[in-house]
Symmetry: C2
């Protein structure tokens, strides 16, 4: 249902740039032939529709909002890939690697326009929510970009605290995830208490999700993530594990790690040394505890909303899955 | 009035990226100190408010729509400059040349979000127009990006006809200019006939504006345009003059011009040769006639709307100015 709406939105046949969008969404191959490929987790629209359903709303009313969020997410991925020179996403070549960065940036911009413009296509019932929903989506989008901006600032920073890092991910990744749940709750109910508990839950889920991503960026296996072990070390990402290792034991390894991050290229030797240091200071355990802490917060807030058993059970299962996922 | 609204929208003090936006708008220097610099012609918001006023509407109702269009225009400039490696706009260093392309692209994206999100800030009276206005702005934005996409495709095309070129500029430049007038008329009146005549006028104005730009890109003087003579030749732009020169006299100079455009660097010698060829085939006169033709169409359509004398006189003066401008 959600996918067919989204496909019809991106079905414009007369504009060649739309074929780039359909490729990016995982619906077509590079020749424009239909495929049934892995097209990502669709986590954000699923959360939005789930939340709407869970609070007793009509899931149909949340379809355009969900599509909007999924398009914002994809627009940001397309631009990120250009900036990071990422050549692969979900085991497929990225847009810019196939079409060049100019066309990829424009394709991302088209997706961005459509994401904001999408409510115009919605029915009157959904349009009723337009103003508050547009406020949530607009702010989430601004937060997300501010987070990307902070991320760039941090790349060149000498040292970053875990608090600074948490603020950055709460914007860069958290904004869109908590917006997904917020939006579903907003569309589905007028009960402020329930909206508020789901908002808190979404906030914690955002942290848990990104920290699990950071764990996979260091210890994830290539066959499940599609990326080599230690990819975030190779790419010199200032993710939670490296920040933890730099700050742990009163900064004992800080200088050594900083020197590795400042070297031109990072090879197997350096990756192994960083992994060794992380092992020494218990980084993996620390990151796992953080994921656990935020997953628990997300669960408690959802329980506080006192929704029906089926939805509560499903949400807790989702949290478990996200906390333990390998990709 | 318009400027103060726009300034308050971009006044967010706690986000460092907003200072990039204020720099880009010409309100602040690189240190964040207030300046009164040339900040562009503000053609699009002026057209929007003028059209609203001319059809008898309340100019106040058009302020947010005007701000939205101006922000879309600036977002597209910021991204264009990154892609074209332009280092100067309106005699000032461009954003990416000061802050790098990553930050500039993000600043452009923030401006893009705000441009779509702006109606939320508007009063209820303006919100009444939200749906049709959002449709116009959204479509104009999509058209503009499609035009940018065509422009990239044309860069590598062997030959382009004048018809293809006109279609490209009607999207890339025309879309936002005709949207400005359309939107003002839509907000200011319910009279379909008047709206329609202004729409036709805006369409022709868009062509005239871009063709004048193309003339200045070849024959403009550095002291007024801020760019060297023949800048579009140096940058191998496929603008109207070069397309005319390639197609003129049954393509007599087509091969020679194509060879010049395929050479690694274009120096004074080649620029002068291209100017000589354009002289031989009467390119400047052709382009001037095109500007004149579209300016006339724009004037006739406006006259057909039968608005009051003062507005008609002002609009005709604006057309004259745009047709003859040196910058």
């Amino acid at each position: 249902m959600f996918n067919s709406e989204l496909k019809s939105i991106l079905a414009d046949e007369h504009l060649s740039v739309y074929s780039l969008l359909r490729y990016c969404m995982g619906w077509e191959d590079i020749n424009g032939d239909k495929i049934s490929s892995s097209s990502g987790k669709r986590l954000r629209p699923s959360l939005c529709m789930f939340a709407c359903d869970a609070v007793g709303g009509d899931i149909q009313s949340a379809i355009y909002a969900s599509a909007s969020i999924e398009l914002i997410h994809n627009f940001s991925l397309i631009h990120d890939e250009v900036q990071d020179f990422d050549e692969i996403r979900h085991h497929r070549p990225t847009l810019w690697s196939l079409y060049g960065s100019q066309k990829a940036l424009l394709a991302g911009n088209i997706m961005h326009v459509i994401s904001h413009d999408i409510f115009r296509l919605s029915g009157d019932r959904e349009f009723y929510h337009f103003r508050p929903a547009s406020k949530l989506i607009g702010n989430a989008c601004l937060d997300m970009i501010e987070g990307q901006y902070l991320d760039i600032l941090y790349e060149n920073a000498q040292s970053i605290t875990i608090e600074q890092y948490l603020r950055m991910i709460s914007l860069k990744t958290g904004a869109l995830i908590r917006c997904s749940i917020n939006l579903g709750a907003l569309i589905g109910t007028t009960n402020r208490d329930i909206q508020n508990q789901l908002k808190i839950s979404g906030e914690s889920l955002g942290y848990a999700f990104q920290i699990r991503d950071d764990i996979l960026g260091i210890w994830g296996q290539e066959k499940t993530t599609g990326k080599p072990v230690g990819v975030d070390i190779i790419r010199k990402k200032k993710s939670l594990p490296i920040i933890h290792a730099m700050n742990a034991n009163h900064g004992k390894y800080s200088l050594e790690l900083r020197e590795i991050y400042q070297s031109e290229n990072i090879g197997d030797f350096q990756v192994n040394r960083v992994l060794e240091i992380m092992d020494n200071v218990g980084t993996l355990e620390f990151a796992r505890q953080m994921t656990k802490k935020y997953t628990k917060k997300a669960r408690v807030a959802f329980l506080n909303a006192r929704l029906n058993d089926v939805h509560t059970k499903n949400y807790i299962a989702l949290l478990q899955f996200l906390m333990n996922r390998d990709y």
